[in-house]
């Protein structure tokens, strides 16, 4: 038997899982080879030493911090869904209508601030767009709103409100005699975008 083979078989020799013939061959080699005899002695010694070693215990807080970190990793495992998908249920006709009305109200408030709104598109439902995409074409929005919305009374109320706001604005403008209209209620910290034609 070669020493390299002895080295390999030594594991099972020490485990006691070698069959009789192999075991005898091993013992035979160890009795003739000093190096391999030392290998047996050293391996047995280390196994005895390892039995006296206290097992490693993980710090108690480790499980907690692993669970904490994996909970946070969840967002990267499930990639962030875009605002469009997030809003998908809201784009269903029923919700879209109330959403449109909300935007309509918002646009009216913008009108008070001297800004008009452009045609309503899905992109307008992006909260960021709601605040930044304000433009002209308020009338087209209005028509769409009427088409969608069946509650005529509510529309009527809004029209009344709008008209009231319009006349207020005109009066205000007249009173100011050419100077900019009075500062409206602060609705949004960022300045309204420049008007486009």
């Amino acid at each position: 038997m070669k020493c390299s083979e002895f080295e390999i078989r030594l594991c099972e020799f020490l485990d006691g899982t070698l069959e009789e013939t192999s075991r005898r061959e091993m013992e035979q080699h160890a009795s003739e080879c000093e190096l391999c005899a030392a290998l047996v002695a050293d391996s047995r010694a280390v196994q005895g030493f390892l039995e006296r070693v206290e097992p490693v215990e993980a710090p108690q807080e480790l499980v907690t911090s692993i669970l904490y970190r994996t909970r946070h990793a969840r967002s990267s495992v499930w990639p962030a869904i875009g605002w469009r998908r997030w809003l998908q249920p809201l784009l269903q006709p029923r919700f879209a209508m109330s959403m449109a009305m909300t935007i309509l109200s918002v646009s009216m408030l913008y009108r008070v601030a001297g800004v008009q709104i452009r045609q309503l598109e899905a992109a307008d439902l992006n909260p960021i767009q709601i605040w930044h995409g304000v433009d002209n074409s308020a009338h087209r929005l209005w028509n769409r709103g009427v088409k969608f919305y069946q509650n005529a009374r509510f529309i009527y109320e809004i029209v009344q409100q709008w008209r009231a706001l319009d006349s207020e604005e005109e009066q205000g403008a007249e009173a100011a005699a050419g100077s900019p209209p009075p500062e409206p209620r602060k609705l949004e910290p960022s300045p309204p975008p420049a008007r486009k034609k």
Partner: protein, 202 residues
């Protein structure tokens, strides 16, 4: 897919409780993930600690292992693989990466410094008693392992500390059974020599 996947996988689940936990995790069951983490944290930490010899590093690495497990759990084949072996493979690969990176940062030097310190002053209680045990033996083992080549170190840790099967270790290290056994034997002999050199009776 089988028309009766539950019945087919039932037998596998009975053989390895980890497998059913993994399956539950993949269905999004958070308590199963928690159970899986609790079951294996000690083992992963123990391997990391024995390999690096540093508690803080072992903690960071253990967290990293579980983050990777979390992200790649889908790639674990519930049908054929043993989760424990898969997890240990992942741990081992991370440790080897870490070893290669930190070797450049001269971490080995700091281990060497600590070793010299241990050799000169002994463990906190001076030269080791003739026959150390418990925590003290654990510290000397750590000092010995740090001086073993990573190849022999990982073989000894997986067999003698974690008590894994030879074929499992072969799978983890991606070497033949014979190579695993030969490394274990040489690692043990080398460790015995190192411990004696430090004055520890083995």
């Amino acid at each position: 897919m089988d028309s009766r996947p539950e019945a087919a996988s039932g037998a596998t689940f009975a053989a390895d409780p980890d497998t059913s936990l993994v399956a539950s995790c993949l269905r999004g069951d958070e308590t199963a993930w928690e159970a899986l983490v609790k079951l294996h944290t000690r083992r992963v930490y123990s391997i990391c600690f024995r390999f690096t010899g540093r508690a803080e590093q072992a903690q960071d690495l253990t967290q990293e292992v579980f983050l990777r497990v979390f992200r790649s759990l889908k790639s674990f084949d519930v049908g054929s693989g043993c989760f424990r072996v898969w997890l240990t493979s992942l741990t081992r690969n991370l440790l080897i990466d870490h070893y290669r990176k930190t070797r450049k940062e001269k971490l080995v030097d700091s281990i060497e410094d600590r070793m010299t310190e241990l050799e000169q002053t002994g463990s906190p209680g001076g030269r080791p008693e003739a026959r150390v045990a418990g925590r003290e033996a654990s510290e000397w083992l750590q000092a010995g392992l740090a001086r073993l080549s990573p190849e022999l170190r990982e073989a000894v840790i997986l067999r003698d500390v974690e008590e894994m099967e030879y074929r499992e270790i072969a799978e983890i290290l991606k070497v033949p059974d014979g190579t695993v056994k030969s490394r274990i034997s040489r690692g043990r002999a080398e460790l015995a020599r190192l411990l004696r050199k430090m004055g520890v009776e083995v």
